[in-house]
């Protein structure tokens, strides 16, 4: 009889241990995206498996800015994705926890919800929830293990409650890397920027200067009498990226074996994808220097010069990357036009602020 009582007692004890969060209310509040934020960008893609809630975003916000994801406790996602630099880091190549350089430049996270044809320069992650998993275990980036991260989150004084409020878990043992990635995905999905000077001009609010207009006409080949900048093919509205992959003649390569960075081919293993990178969005491009996947150009003027020259005749160079013969005025205009794509209104969203400052 004593054994029975003991068994029942232990069972009740264990049962109560397994439900350490159940007394915390789980009433997630749907996050309402401001229609003005997406008006110029299109329908915001939100996966049914990860609907936006204020609690989910709040959790993602904390994790994004918390160095808990790094092995040394010194770096967070925000170390390479600073809000004021359109969520890039201002470096040619990002630097990881051990001070080692990564092989590519940090990409902007602005409007990342719309990057539906793959993330990273080579598109190796299909969606934000997949992408969020990779930097943690990258030896150069955060150099940590998800097992340890999850253990740290479980024993943290606040995160279990936040996971409960975001995802309804009943016990801190239910915290997983997948839930963590969902929170980060929600957070990144609301980094929206679509109210630039250009957007307002399109709606007849405000004007562009003559220089900016010349750049616009060159960018989109609006005026057949002008030399075509060929920019809009890969950097088209509304995101100023087509979300596709191109070899822009940046790397010197006579054969596919010569590419220093094979880019998209890492994922597809196709010869025709060697050297191709995802065309980055040009929204907020004035904030995201230096440019290209390896950060080789410090200014937009250098970028324009590269495309005007046609770059290197690589095996997979896109046909639209060729010598352009733009006038000096057109080159100046292109830079001026690209600067009209700046919009930092997302900084005013309290969900995107660093919660630890």
């Amino acid at each position: 009889m004593i054994r029975v009582f003991l068994f029942v007692g232990i069972s009740i004890f264990l049962s109560s241990c397994k439900k350490d969060l159940i007394d915390i209310p789980y009433n997630p509040t749907p996050y309402e995206v401001n229609a003005e934020e997406t008006e110029n960008l299109g329908i915001l893609p939100i996966p049914k498996t990860n609907e936006l809630t204020e609690e989910g975003i709040r959790l993602g916000q904390h994790i994004f800015f918390d160095p808990v994801l790094s092995s040394t406790g010194t770096m967070s996602c925000s170390s390479c994705h600073l809000p004021e630099l359109a969520f890039t880091d201002g470096k040619a190549l990002s630097v990881g926890v051990q001070g080692e350089q990564t092989s590519r430049s940090s990409m902007t996270l602005v409007n990342a919800a719309y990057y539906t044809q793959g993330l990273f320069w080579d598109g190796r992650s299909e969606k934000l929830e997949d992408q969020a998993l990779l930097p943690v275990e990258d030896d150069i980036e955060l150099d940590h293990s998800w097992e340890e991260v999850v253990e740290d989150l479980k024993s943290h004084p606040e995160y279990p409650t936040m996971f409960r409020k975001a995802f309804g878990i009943e016990d801190s043992e239910e915290i997983t890397k997948e839930l963590t990635a969902r929170a980060l995905g929600q957070f990144q999905r609301i980094i929206l920027s679509g109210n630039s000077k250009y957007d307002r001009w399109k709606k007849d609010i405000g004007v562009l200067t003559d220089e900016e207009l010349l750049g616009f006409e060159t960018f989109f080949d609006v005026n057949p009498l002008l030399k075509d900048g060929e920019c809009g093919h890969c950097h088209n509205e509304p995101l100023f990226t087509s979300n596709q992959y191109f070899d822009n003649g940046l790397q010197e390569a006579n054969t596919i074996d010569d590419y220093g960075d094979i880019g998209r081919a890492v994922v597809t293993n196709k010869e025709s994808d060697y050297g191709k990178m995802r065309a980055p969005s040009l929204r907020n491009i004035a904030l995201t220097a230096p440019y290209m996947h390896d950060g080789r150009f410090e200014t937009l003027e250098e970028v324009v010069e590269h495309y005007n020259s046609g770059g290197h005749p690589t095996p997979n160079r896109d046909p639209l990357v060729h010598e352009l013969n733009l006038t000096e005025d057109q080159k100046v205009g292109l830079v001026a036009f690209m600067k009209t794509l700046t919009d930092t209104s997302y900084l005013e969203n309290p969900f995107l602020e660093n919660p630890f400052e």
């Binding site: 329908i43 009498l225 088209n236 087509s242």
Partner: protein
């Protein structure tokens, strides 16, 4: 007695339903990219008759208002629009139409090459991310138009027989849009429910028996060139039996 009547009614109803199901079928519409009589091979050197060596690295196009015309002249709408992209399967891009094609004899299939004016009046921002018309890489702001077709590749400019210089032809705009009708003269039923259409790329590069020039053809100032190319796409569909 009431139960018997109800049962009979249900049986009749199910019977009707079954009959309805048997009157329609799935249909696979398959497009295959040809070069002459062979399946097109991307990044393979072809020789223009009387012209230069060249390769094709991309070939795709939109179709819209796809419909079948029955022997009695009635039309069956199959779909509003789709994109046919041969990148991953030049031997057959399959578009499945689920269970709404009446079994019967059909004379022809008709579709617009590109997007009809109603669709083309919209832009990527109007479509959700998973829709082919959301792809801004297929919208050209300078035309206020979707790009109806993209063909790209390289051609030989230095005479060594090795294609090294890029060429593209992108077409679009309402005023070049036209419909293509291909005679299929076929009975469609549950056992015979595939329509395979071949699009021969070889004639794209010839104009009245002479080799067409390669170049970068996509801007409104060069409409004559891309309209000619568009017409050669439209004129070279055929049914594969």
């Amino acid at each position: 007695m009431k139960q018997l009547i109800a049962l009979s009614f249900c049986a009749l109803l199910f019977s009707c339903c079954n009959n309805n199901r048997e009157t329609t079928t799935d249909l696979d519409l398959v497009f295959q990219a040809n070069y002459g009589d062979e399946i097109l091979q991307y990044n393979t050197v072809y020789q223009q008759e009387g012209g230069v060596a060249f390769e094709i690295s991309r070939s795709d196009f939109f179709i819209s208002d796809v419909r079948l015309t029955a022997d009695d002249g009635s039309e069956i709408n199959l779909m509003d629009y789709a994109q046919v992209d041969f990148e991953d399967s030049p031997g057959g891009v399959r578009i499945m139409i689920e269970d709404n094609v009446p079994i019967g004899n059909y004379e022809s299939i008709t579709f617009g090459l590109g997007l009809n004016s109603d669709l083309n009046a919209q832009s990527p921002i109007d479509f959700p991310a998973d829709d082919v018309l959301n792809n801004s890489g297929y919208y050209w702001a300078a035309w206020n138009s979707y790009i109806f077709s993209k063909q790209e590749g390289r051609h030989d400019t230095d005479g060594d027989g090795v294609p090294e210089t890029g060429w593209i032809v992108h077409t679009g705009k309402d005023d070049i849009y036209k419909e293509v009708t291909v005679v299929i003269d076929s009975e469609i039923d549950e056992d015979n429910n595939i329509i395979r259409l071949a699009i021969d790329h070889e004639p794209f590069f010839m104009i009245d028996g002479a080799p067409a020039e390669f170049g970068i053809i996509h801007d409104p100032g060069n409409q004559e060139a891309f309209q000619g190319f568009y017409n050669r796409i439209a004129d070279n569909f055929r049914v594969v039996q």
